[in-house]
């Protein structure tokens, strides 16, 4: 093709399809992005982990007291499918997740509906939802003490998808001119019946949660309230504000006047007490001149256990293991296993510090983000520290390499966890 005929053909193409010729050799065909009734996507994840196990740690003993390996290799795969179907003012939304994991000891697989709800948008001011939904209330990055109707997230990976609860909700929004710019009210009815939300709390109850949001003088404010008999009533408040273009502060507080709490006694009895909890969190997010983002959060978990109370649990496991070795009896280990949901949960203590620093694209390496995250139990000074590197340079691929060192002194929270270190390579393909 001669140069002049090529030019003529190109000109004709531009005339027929102007969006193709928006910029030199770069095209933008808008037809590819027209809205469809059915939208879907998701990701496939492959993850390989190598764990070095703590010698004689409480949680390690509870899992491996019969045959104790020193390392554990695990390979897992996860498939998440999300999507929506819209027609008129109604939308069906879903997030489905299935995963399978094989380590040196066990095979585990799960398939869950994380979200599945119908949404009716009556107007921009009002939306009604029915079904299983994640709410994510609270402003904290690593923890959300005021997330009364959410599952606890993993501070090691706060951006992981979580499973929601089934309920019916209404969302009302109003905007204003003046210092109060936005006002939003969200109310959720959350039943707990046989087969519905059974892991939320006591059964055969209908619970109510509400949140009032205000954007007042450039500050996000939330007033949160929960009442019902599945869990005790509770009150929350959170805020978030940019103090400068590169500095954000946030905080939240949760008050539970009457909270039942199981506490292990020195004689290994478990005593149920009613306590008053006030948990709170304060955090900052700062962006430095060299594109270093730092997140720091202090969390007081009033629902957690003191150093002494955690120590009793670790001593129970040690005594149980000693008895198992001498007599083969697993009575105490079984009791400890029953308590491990409370004493072995992530952040079972009282006072924590979370610090994360992410360097965006150092040395002009586009889409490369090294980071380091530390979680410190301020009472016993045990910690986990995790350097990582994330690369997203290949379209729709994400690669993360992460190493975690988990340690502390004798009978401290992190030293009593199952593993002392973890090396993880995670690969995600989005579609």
């Amino acid at each position: 093709m001669s140069r002049s005929s090529f030019r003529a053909a190109w000109l004709l193409l531009c005339l027929l399809s102007p969006t193709v010729c928006a910029g030199e050799e770069f095209g933008f065909n808008l037809a590819e992005f027209e809205k469809k009734e059915l939208e879907w996507g998701g990701y496939l994840e492959l993850k390989g982990e190598h764990l070095e196990l703590h010698e004689n740690s409480a949680l390690g003993i509870l899992r491996f007291y019969r045959d104790r390996p020193s390392t554990l290799d695990r390979f897992s795969t996860t498939l998440q499918l999300d999507g929506s179907f819209s027609r008129g003012a109604a939308t069906l939304n879903w997030v489905l997740q299935g995963s399978a994991a094989q380590d040196d000891a066990d095979w585990e697989d799960t398939a869950e509906v994380f979200e599945g709800y119908a949404s009716l948008k009556a107007s921009p001011h009002a939306t009604f939802d029915l079904g299983k939904k994640v709410f994510k209330w609270g402003k904290g990055y690593a923890w959300n003490p005021a997330g009364f109707i959410d599952r606890a997230k993993d501070p090691d990976d706060p951006e992981q998808a979580l499973e929601g609860f089934i309920g019916a909700g209404a969302d009302l929004i109003k905007s204003f001119a003046g210092p109060l710019r936005n006002l939003a009210f969200t109310a959720v009815i959350l039943p707990v019946w046989r087969g519905i939300n059974e892991d939320f709390g006591d059964r055969d109850q209908v619970n109510l949660a509400a949140k009032l949001y205000l954007l007042y003088r450039d500050t996000d404010l939330d007033f949160i309230w929960y009442t019902g008999n599945s869990r005790s009533s509770r009150y929350g408040f959170d805020f978030s504000r940019n103090l400068a273009t590169n500095l954000e502060i946030h905080g939240e507080v949760a008050h539970i006047p009457k909270q039942p709490k199981n506490i292990l006694q020195p004689d290994n009895r478990v005593e149920l007490r009613e306590v008053t909890d006030t948990s709170y969190l304060l955090g900052v997010r700062y962006l430095g001149e060299n594109d270093l983002t730092t997140i720091i959060e202090y969390y007081h978990n009033d629902d957690g256990y003191s150093e002494e109370e955690l120590g009793r649990f670790y001593a129970l496991v040690a005594e149980g293991y000693s008895r198992f070795l001498s007599s083969g009896s697993t009575t105490l280990l079984d009791q400890a296993a029953g308590l491990s949901q409370l004493y072995g949960r992530p952040q079972a203590g009282r006072n924590y510090l979370y610090a994360r620093a992410v360097q965006k694209e150092p040395f002009d390496l586009l889409y490369f983000a090294p980071a380091i995250t530390a979680i410190v139990n301020l009472d016993d000074r045990s910690f986990s520290v995790s350097p990582e590197a994330v690369y997203t340079g290949f379209t729709n691929w994400e690669m993360r390499l992460r190493f975690s060192l988990i340690n502390g002194g004798y009978h401290t929270e992190h030293a009593e966890k199952q593993n002392s270190s973890r090396l993880e390579l995670r690969l995600r393909y989005f579609f």
Partner: protein
């Protein structure tokens, strides 16, 4: 003699009026000059986009070796300070949405659920464009003209940020006199350092009286060898409720399309 005195008496009030007029006009002259610059800037804004609109854009990051990454965004804006951008592509970013209300910015990531406050200097896409470029309000909403100069077929405008919360402290904007749209904008930090340069290219008729550059190219001394482009495929006037620009609405922005 009498005649000349009568003449002086007649002239005196006229002179007084002239002095009074000069006394009012002269101190106000620089303000009037600056006002012209601000008027030009306001017209540049209206030529670039209607006050309330919906828009489709593609962002392309190009690395020194020619490797590219592309993002497609659907954007709606209302008035001077309300804006939402939703990622339509690639799949890894789909569903992410950013909201801007004046100086406030939030990022909604579907898995994370709740919107996180972000800053104008960060970049949700990586590369040379930052959040302030992607969620850009009218220039006249954030800047005032401190100096204007005519140079051939162009106006050279020096813009100064109205507040410290704006991403760039100063802009040097070259404006095409005839089309009244920017051709080049240099963005400077408070320190005077050049952060990036934006090149407006390929003037195109988007219909409904909107005729503006369809391509913005940018480079930065901070990202040597890298280049980013923003391609515009559709800009159309659209009236929207204020409630669309709220945190609670962010997960539902897709429903506006």
């Amino acid at each position: 003699m009498l005649t000349s005195m009568n003449c002086a008496k007649k002239i005196r009030p006229l002179l007084l009026l002239l002095f009074a007029w000069l006394a009012v006009i002269l101190p106000a002259a620089p303000a009037a000059f600056a006002l012209d610059g601000n008027e030009i800037l306001a017209r540049v804004d209206r030529n670039l986009q209607p006050e309330s609109y919906e828009m489709y854009r593609k962002l392309i990051n190009i690395e020194p070796d020619g490797a590219r990454k592309e993002f497609v965004l659907y954007t709606v804006k209302k008035g001077r300070e309300k804006m939402v951008a939703l990622f339509l592509s690639p799949a890894s970013e789909k569903g992410r949405a950013t909201l801007r209300l004046g100086d406030n910015m939030w990022l909604y990531i579907p898995n994370v659920g709740k919107p996180l406050r972000i800053t104008s200097l960060q970049s949700v896409v990586g590369g040379v464009f930052n959040n302030a470029d992607i969620l850009r309000l009218d220039y006249s909403a954030e800047y005032e003209v401190s100096r204007i100069e005519e140079k051939g077929d162009t106006y050279l405008l020096d813009l100064k940020a109205r507040s410290g919360s704006v991403a760039y402290d100063r802009l040097k904007m070259t404006v095409d006199k005839q089309a009244l749209v920017p051709t080049v904008i240099e963005c400077f930090a408070v320190s005077g350092m050049l952060i990036k340069t934006l090149y407006y290219k390929d003037i195109k008729d988007f219909g409904d009286g909107i005729r503006r550059p369809a391509t913005i190219e940018t480079d930065s001394p901070l990202y040597k060898g890298y280049k980013s482009l923003m391609l515009y495929a559709k800009i159309a006037k659209r009236e929207l409720a204020d409630e669309v620009f709220t945190l609670n609405y962010l997960p539902r922005v897709e429903e506006l399309r």
